[in-house]
């Protein structure tokens, strides 16, 4: 049972039980931590700048097209993670909302005969319709156990795909095509890219806000033990449904964007089973339920998928390569890149600290007692992730602070 995620213990036991006032209270105000925060914010800023200037520097239409696809997936995965990652209810039916958004925006554009340009104003409407659709679906699907939930979402997915085929106003298997846009061919992809970037950044920010709010803690409590969460006063159904609807709304907006970008929504591409699975895979690759993990997963997997598609022109070979990759991740990095990476960094720091303490500890026997007792405590903390419960380390606060702070923040990211 060493595989328990490091983040959960401190987060739940801190604010939920002791008092909601100090959300995110697991962080210790050590200098090392502040340094890490500054470093992290710096990295984030650099990443944002790179993302913002990407299409200005790299103007090759093929690459910017990949970039738009990647942005679409980053947003979609962040939205998926906001519900599935935080509550542990794996949804394999988010394509329902993706397709609903795409069809809503598409049919409205057609109905109102909108010209190109300000069409992006329709996206919130697509999101709204997808969110409204999510309410009854959630009311049915969220009553059941987790395993069953997965299958119900698959069932919803099939129902919606077939409705798109069969209903009179959806255009059947012709789908809905988008109008031509009049902006220049050279930077045709840029508007899509920036809208995608805005949605993705907004979703990630929302995800972060939720993670650090009372609502987010309730979601995580549900993920850990739903019955106990209810016992502690979390209104589980309402909480789950809210997250489900938010996630659906964002996915709907992204679906609308995708429709403008691709130019046509067919029942089998707007409601695509591969979309569901790809999103889940990206989240698991990066780190299920973490904030940065799913985004990282999308940033790695979507370009990789495109690259595999180009390299192995035989579509079946690329499927096999993708499946093999998939299995390798699950078998060798079951918790995903971010938690595994954080663990690695923690271990490395602990080893460093031990080495640093070992050198003076050998020459000065008087001071070695507190310093020497910290390292055995720290690795334990790194693995079990309960800083308060570390018995040997707790008696030596000075020596153990850096290493206790690291696992908790590393997991919370």
């Amino acid at each position: 049972m060493n595989g328990e995620p490091v983040n959960v213990g401190p987060v739940i036991e801190g604010p939920v039980i002791e008092g909601p006032a100090q959300a995110g209270g697991a962080q210790l105000p050590a200098g090392r931590d502040r340094q890490a925060t500054v470093l992290r914010l710096g990295c984030l800023a650099v990443l944002l700048v790179i993302a913002a200037i990407f299409p200005l520097v790299i103007t090759n239409a093929l690459y910017t097209q990949f970039a738009v696809d990647t942005m679409i997936y980053v947003g979609a995965v962040a939205a998926w993670n906001l519900f599935s990652g935080y509550t542990g209810y794996i949804s394999l039916g988010n394509a329902v909302f993706f397709g609903t958004g795409a069809y809503t925006v598409g049919l409205l554009t057609k109905q109102w005969k909108l010209p190109g340009g300000d069409i992006f104003a329709l996206l919130p409407l697509g999101g709204l319709v997808a969110a409204l659709v999510a309410v009854p679906l959630g009311l049915v699907a969220l009553r059941v156990r987790r395993h069953t939930f997965v299958v119900i979402t698959i069932a919803f997915f099939f129902i919606f795909q077939l409705l798109a085929f069969n209903l009179s106003f959806t255009g059947g298997n012709q789908g809905v095509s988008s109008p031509f846009f009049l902006w220049s061919a050279a930077d045709y992809n840029n508007p899509f890219y920036y809208v995608g970037l805005i949605i993705a950044v907004a979703t990630i920010s929302l995800s972060w806000l939720i993670r650090n709010s009372r609502f987010g803690l309730q979601l995580l409590a549900i993920r850990d033990d739903e019955d106990r969460a209810r016992g502690l006063g979390v209104r589980t159904m309402r909480t789950k449904l809210t997250a489900f609807v938010i996630s659906a709304g964002i996915t709907g907006m992204i679906g609308g964007l995708w429709w403008f970008f691709i130019g046509q929504a067919l029942p089998e591409t707007a409601f695509d089973p591969l979309f569901d699975l790809t999103v889940a895979l990206m989240a698991f690759l990066g780190g299920f339920g973490t904030l940065a993990g799913p985004v990282l997963g999308a940033l790695i997997l979507e370009p990789l998928q495109q690259w595999i598609g180009i390299t192995f022109t035989n579509g079946y070979t690329s499927d096999i390569v993708l499946g093999g990759l998939f299995l390798a991740v699950i078998l060798f990095m079951p918790r995903g890149l971010v938690p595994t990476g954080a663990e690695f960094v923690t271990k490395w720091r602990v080893a460093q600290a031990r080495r640093r303490e070992a050198a003076p500890g050998g020459s000065a026997p008087g001071g070695s007692a507190p310093g020497g007792s910290a390292p055995p405590g720290s690795p334990t903390l790194g693995r079990t992730g309960s800083p308060g419960a570390g018995t040997p380390g707790a008696s030596t606060p000075g020596a153990s602070t850096p290493s206790t702070g690291t696992p908790s923040t590393g997991g919370v990211r």
Partner: protein, 294 residues
Amino acid sequence: MGRELSEAIVDGILGGSVYALMAVGLTLIFGVLDIINIAQGILVVLGAYLSYVLSVHLHIDLFAGLLVTVPAMFIIGVAIQWAFIRPLRGRERTSMSLLATYAVAIIIEGILYIIFGSNYVNLNASYVTEGPKIFGFYLDYIYIYGFLMALLLVLAIYFTLYRTPFGRSVRATMQDQTAARIVGISVNRVQALTFGIGVAVTAAGGMVFGATSGGFNPNTGYDLISRLLAIIILGGLGSIGGAMIAAIFMITLEGVVDVVWSPSWSVVVFYGALVLVLAFRPQGLLGRKAARAQ
């Protein structure tokens, strides 16, 4: 209409029994290993292709060929469990198993595409296209033979589960893994064998499916797995009796809607029925009521 309706009902019950066989394998795997085997659909197709190779290239009768394909699928199942399921550990094990078996499914699908291409093929034999006339329509022998075979195999599984020492250890593992381990049951062995059995029945189910479905290709696996999942959820996860009832009910329902309404809506009704039942009975027809946290 009356003749078509009775044909739909008879075909549904007989064809549903084959789905029941495949679903029993899937629900057994869930009950013992606590994982959902997404690859079950493509394994059915693989079983059908094995029968296809034996009958077309080696001219072995479809039913005689099962003597080869069932053990072969058993070995494949044990190998998959050993390589990809057993290493999974921890809290997200069930979710990870979904992804792992899905990956296995894509790999098998890709290999099948490379070997067989995307053309639809069909299993053929004299009894696939001939049969007696009842209620005013011709019922092909394959439906009758398939029904009898499915019945026999499900009975064999039941007998194994409830009348043999191995079956007792399987049921013990289903109820409580830790306790089963404490009383000396080799849970790993039970899990491997159960996965093997659950996959082996797909060879038999796949053969009948390949002969009655009117053509299959590697992509058929997706359609199959979504139906099988719907069936085992409707019946109640881990419940063998529930899986059988649900399979026959769903396949018959689909066939009847096909006739009385329209083929394009039958699949919507199929999944709609699942959602409707679960709205009132979240644990499925014969499912045990369990804590949600699981």
